[in-house]
Symmetry: none
Subunit: 209 residues, 4 copies
DNA sequence: CATGAATGAGTCTTCATTCAT
DNA sequence: AATGAATGAAGACTCATTCAT
C-alpha cells in the first residue's frame, strides 16, 4: 500500500495525537486541526478513523520484516552476536518511533481492532521464529543451553524496553539526571538498556556467569 | 476512603469494562447497564466518570503498601529470598487483578489524569525504595554485586510480567497449550514467570552463574 | 395559608436564590443545600419546585393589601398627601424585599406560571383601583386635573423604582458614590426616589409648576 | 462581527424563545426545532448556548450607537426638541424589538453573564453621556433647571416604557380596549407613552408648568 | 480534488421527583 | 416526620461521517 505525501502527513499527525491522548481520546477534528486540513479529508482519504489507524500500522510495520530477515543469514556472526544485534535492533526501533510504540501498547491493551491485533501478532511471530532458529543454531554449536523459553525471553526484552520507555521520566528523576539534556539522556538510556538486556540474555542462553 | 458494597460493585464493573475497552471507549451507560443500575447513580456515587476511575485506583492501590512493608522487616530471610518473595508478590498481584493491571498500563500510556499518574508513581517509588534498601543490605553482606541499577531491574520484572500477561494468548498458541484448561495454564504461566524472573534477578544481583 | 417556621426558612432561602440565579437557574438541590435540609423536603413540603414559587408569592403578597386599604380611608389626609404616602409605601416595600421584587419582575417577563401572573395582576388591579378612587376624590375637590391616565402614572412609579433598583450599582458609579456605605447609599437613593417621583406625580396630577 | 443569513435566522428564533421562556427555560433543542435546524448546528455556528445569547446582543446592540450620536449634533433643534426625540427614539427601539427588550431585562435581573452585563451597561453609559451634554447645553441657554439628576431621569424613561410594555395586556384590559386591533392598540400606546414621558421630562427639566 | 455545512447518534451530567424506610 | 437512595427524562454538547457543491 502506497501513501501520498499528504496522507503520510495526516498519518503522522494522528500518530502523535493517538500516542498522547489514546485512540478514543483523539477526535478526527483534533487531527484535522493539527494537520491543518479539513475534517472531511480523513474520511475522504482513509474511509474512517479506524482505517486511519490501520493505515498507520501498515506504514510503520511494513518495513520491519526485511531488516530482521537479513540479519540471521549473515554467517560471519556468532549466535550470541546475532542475538545482541537483535536486541539493539529492537531498542533502536522502539526509540525511533516512541509514539507508534505507545499506540501499539494501547492497541494491545484494548484489543478492539482485529487488524491491529493481527499486525502486532505477526511481528511477534516473525520475531519468535527468527530467534527460535537462531537459538537452535546456538544449541547445535553447543554455545546455548538446552532448554530455553523463547517467548519468555522475548517478553523480557520487549517488556523491559517498553517499561523503561514508559517510565523514563521516573527513571530520570530517581537517578537525579534532570540536568542532562533530553537527547543525551535518551542516548544514555539506550546504552544502559542495551547492556542490561544483553546481560539478561546471556544469563538465559548460556551457562557462563 | 471507604466504599459501600454497591459502590464496590460499580467500581468492579467499571474495572472490567475499562480493561476491555479502555476508559474513553467505555461509556457510563455501558457501566450502568452492565452493573444493572441507573446511569445517574454513577454521578450520584462518584461525581463523574473520571472520579470513578480514581475511586478504582483508591480501592486497588490502597492495600498494596502494607504487604510490601512487612516483608522487608523479616529477619529470618536472606536478601535473595526477600527479592524472590517480592517477585512472587508482584506476579501474584498482577495476576489476581489482571483487569486493573491493564487499566494501569493504559492510564500510564495516556497520562491524562494527574491523580492516576501520581498513584502509579507512588507505587513505583515505594517499590524502588524498598528494593534499594534490600539491595544495600545484600551488598553489605557481600552477597550482591556493587553496582546495581535498581530501576532497570524493576523495569525488567514489571515489564516482563506485563508483556507476558498481555500476550499470554500468543504464548499459549506458540507453545501449543490450547488444550490445557485456563486455570491450569495460568498456574503454569505463573510458575514459569516466577522461575524466569528469579533467574534474571540472580544474574543481575550476584556473581554466580 | 399558614407556613411553619421550617417552610418559611425554605421559602426565604429559595427567594434569595431565585433572585440571584432566576427560577430555572436555581435547582432544588441548590435550595436544599443552602437551607441545610434534605432535597426531598421541598417536594415533601410544597409538592414541587413550582409550588414553592407560588408559596413564596402567597407569603409575600398576602400582607400587602391590608396596608393599602387602610391608607385610603384616613380622612385627615389630603389627596396629594395620600398619593405621596402611596409612593413611599411602594418604595419602602420594594426596597425592603429586593429579592422578591427581582423575582416578581422575572416572573412577569417569563410569564409561564398563571398563578404568579394572577397574583401580580391582583396587586396591580388593587393598586389601580385604590389610586383611581383617590384621584376621583382629588378631582371632585378640584385639586387634580380632569384627565389622568392612572395606569400610566402607576407604570411610571413602578417602572422608575424598578429601574433604579436594578441599575443602582451603575447609578452609584455614575455619581461617584462608591465610598459611601451600602446602607447609607440605599437611604440616599430612597430619599431621591421619593422626591423624584413625587415631583412627577405633582406634574401629572395638578396644574401647578 | 458579521452573521450569515442562517445565523441571523437562528439568532432571531432564539430571541423569541428566550423572551417567551427565559434563557434557562429555553433548551437548545427548542431553538433548533423552532428554527428547523439540527441541534448540533447551534454549537457549530455559535459554540454554545451562552455564546448564542452573546451573538444576539452583538446583533442588536451594535447599531444603536450611531443613531444617538448623530442626533445630538443637529444644531437646528432646541434642547427640549432633542430630548423629546430621544424619548421617541427609545420608545421606538423598545417597541420594534420587544423580545430583545424582554431578554435584556431578564439578563439584568439575573446578571450571570458578564458579557451581557457589559453590553447593557455600555448602552446606559452612552445614553447618560449624551443626555448629560444635552442638558448642559440647555442649562447654558437658561432653558433647563440647574440641578438635574440625569440618571434618575433616564430611569424614569426606561422604567416607564419597560413597565408599560410588560403590563400592556393589563393596561388594555383596564381601559377596556380589547376590541381594538393589536397594531392599532400598540400605536395608541406608543403615542400615549410619548406624550406622558415628554410631560414628565418637561417637569423635570424646566420651571414652567 | 477538496471543502464547508449539515446530520443524527452519541457523550457525560444534572434535573425534579419518588420510593422505601 | 423525615431522609438517603434511586430513577428516568432532559440538559448541553461532541462525535464521526456524509452531502452538495
Amino acid at each position: 500500500m502506497d501513501f501520498t505525501d499528504k496522507q503520510i502527513q495526516i498519518i503522522e499527525t494522528a500518530e502523535q495525537l493517538f500516542a498522547e491522548r489514546g485512540f478514543d481520546g483523539t477526535s478526527v477534528r483534533d487531527i484535522a486541526d493539527e494537520a491543518g486540513i479539513n475534517v472531511a479529508m480523513i474520511s475522504y482519504y482513509f474511509g474512517s478513523k479506524e482505517k486511519l489507524l490501520e493505515a498507520l500500522f501498515e506504514l510503520r510495520v511494513g518495513s520491519v520484516k526485511i531488516r530482521v530477515e537479513s540479519l540471521i543469514k549473515d554467517d560471519s556472526l556468532t549466535p550470541i552476536e546475532k542475538v545482541n544485534m537483535l536486541v539493539d535492533e529492537h531498542i533502536e526501533r522502539v526509540m525511533q518511533k516512541p509514539c507508534f510504540h505507545k499506540i501499539m501498547i494501547g492497541a494491545q491493551v484494548t484489543n478492539k481492532n482485529p487488524f491491529i491485533l493481527k499486525a502486532a501478532n505477526n511481528v511477534k511471530i516473525r520475531n519468535a521464529e527468527v530467534v527460535s532458529e537462531l537459538i537452535k543454531d546456538g544449541q547445535k554449536k553447543g554455545i546455548f543451553k538446552k532448554k530455553i523459553d523463547v517467548v519468555m525471553m522475548l517478553n523480557t526484552m520487549v517488556g523491559t524496553v517498553t517499561q523503561t520507555i514508559m517510565s523514563k521520566d521516573y527513571y530520570r528523576e530517581f537517578n537525579n539526571q534532570q540536568h542532562i539534556a533530553d537527547a543525551e539522556f535518551m542516548a544514555i538510556l539506550k546504552r544502559r538498556l542495551s547492556i542490561h538486556i544483553k546481560i539478561l540474555f546471556k544469563a538465559i542462553l548460556t551457562n557462563e556467569a
